[in-house]
């Protein structure tokens, strides 16, 4: 279940963060709030949470 904002890491969803996520990859795991290891590539990104695995832009 998703509890945290992927942009700022705080609880809930925020309009400004959702807007920012159009031009940014997620930085925080939505499930546990850990900062993720993010790699941006020319046409995509991956974001890895140590506990919950890897998200991709694809």
């Amino acid at each position: 279940m998703e509890k945290y904002c992927e942009h700022c890491g705080e609880a809930g969803e925020h309009a400004a963060c959702l807007r920012a996520l159009r031009l940014e990859p997620p930085r925080f795991c939505a499930r546990c709030r850990r900062r993720m290891v993010v790699q941006v590539t020319p046409r995509g990104w991956t974001a890895r949470c140590a506990e919950h695995g890897t998200l991709t832009s694809a």
């Binding site: 941006v40 590539t41 995509g44």
Partner: protein, 331 residues
């Protein structure tokens, strides 16, 4: 007093001599009502001295975050509480990124690391990466690895790196308000070594870091003195956790005046759209900049943030009848 655009038409368009600092300031200070006129002249200058081609580039971060420097705009500094975590890109992923970039028609692929300067481990990784890319992808390789020693300059040159990026970031007089862990002059020294080694110099900066119009003009003049092959122009995208996170975005009209003024100051330079244009200019402004002096762009994503869809940019170039510069033209 003769109008600055009348002077620029003769001096820059006809004679190919860039504006000086005082003239650049006059252009930056023009009222918004004259923006269209300024952009039109900058476009004429670009077409006259550079031609219609647009150089397309992709960039990739091989070493993200954890940088010891304190560049106040950068989310990759280890000195700020930014959400960006350290990451290290493996060689197969680097080659794949180069391949993705080449598919867009890009002729340039820039390998970037968030470091003060490269250590031996990073140099080894870059060397392996260059070899692997050259074996599989037809593209020119550039690097941006911070400040270099003479040995490192020589090594990169011998590995076939054809262009090296190291931004002065802002005017010399403003630099101490942006970075305190090293000096503008240290960056200048690296750029001189790069040029002397025969690599092309890529040097630009960021607009919107609290500099005055006078300092923007100063920066344009300092870049003209350096005479780089390429100037990437970024607009501040305030990053969470950095000292500049609350800075406002540059207004679109101001950004376009800056683009046009830099073109008039640097008539023959490759002037590249880099980060922040999506927020500052949007779709319409992006087109205006391409018709106001810009003749190169980074397509796709940046180092830690995302760019416009590459296909949208390529469609725009088609619409504007601006051909992508072919690899054969860059060799």
């Amino acid at each position: 007093m003769t109008d600055i655009l009348t002077i620029a038409r003769q001096q820059v368009l006809e004679e190919g001599r860039g504006l000086d600092q005082a003239q650049a300031l006059e252009c930056l200070s023009l009222p918004d009502e004259r923006l269209e006129e300024l952009l039109a002249l900058a476009h004429e200058v670009r077409m006259r001295w550079c031609g219609p081609e647009v150089e397309v580039e992709g960039i990739i971060s091989v070493k993200t975050g954890g940088c010891p420097e304190d560049c106040h705009f950068c989310s990759q500094s280890g000195q700020f509480s930014s959400p960006v975590r350290a990451a290290w890109l493996d060689i197969p992923s680097l080659v794949e990124a180069a391949r993705e970039t080449a598919k867009t028609g890009a002729t340039e692929f820039c390998i970037v690391a968030a470091v003060r300067g490269p250590d031996q481990r990073l140099m080894d990784q870059v060397k392996k990466g260059i070899e692997a890319i050259n074996a599989e992808v037809e593209i020119q390789i550039a690097c941006s690895l911070g400040m270099l020693t003479q040995e490192q300059v020589d090594a990169l040159s011998s590995w076939g790196v054809h262009r090296y990026n190291h931004n002065l970031e802002t005017a010399r007089s403003h630099f101490p308000k942006v970075v305190t862990t090293h000096t503008w002059e240290e960056r200048w020294d690296t750029l001189q070594m790069v040029r002397e080694a025969g690599m092309e110099v890529c040097c630009g900066g960021l607009i919107g870091m609290g500099e005055t119009l006078e300092q923007r003009a100063e920066f344009a003049a300092q870049l003209a003195e350096l005479d780089p092959h390429e100037v990437p122009l970024n607009f501040l995208n305030p990053r969470p956790g950095t000292p500049f996170e609350e800075f406002p975005l540059v207004e679109g009209a101001e950004a376009l005046k800056t683009i046009a003024t830099f073109r008039l100051t640097l008539p023959r330079t490759i002037l590249r759209y880099a980060g922040g244009r999506e927020l500052t200019l949007g779709d319409l402004g992006t087109k205006d900049g391409l018709l106001g002096g810009i003749n190169a762009m980074i397509v796709g994503n940046y180092l830690t943030t995302l760019g416009r869809n590459a296909d949208k940019d390529l469609d725009l170039l088609t619409e504007l009848q601006m051909p992508i510069k072919a690899l054969s033209q860059t060799l």
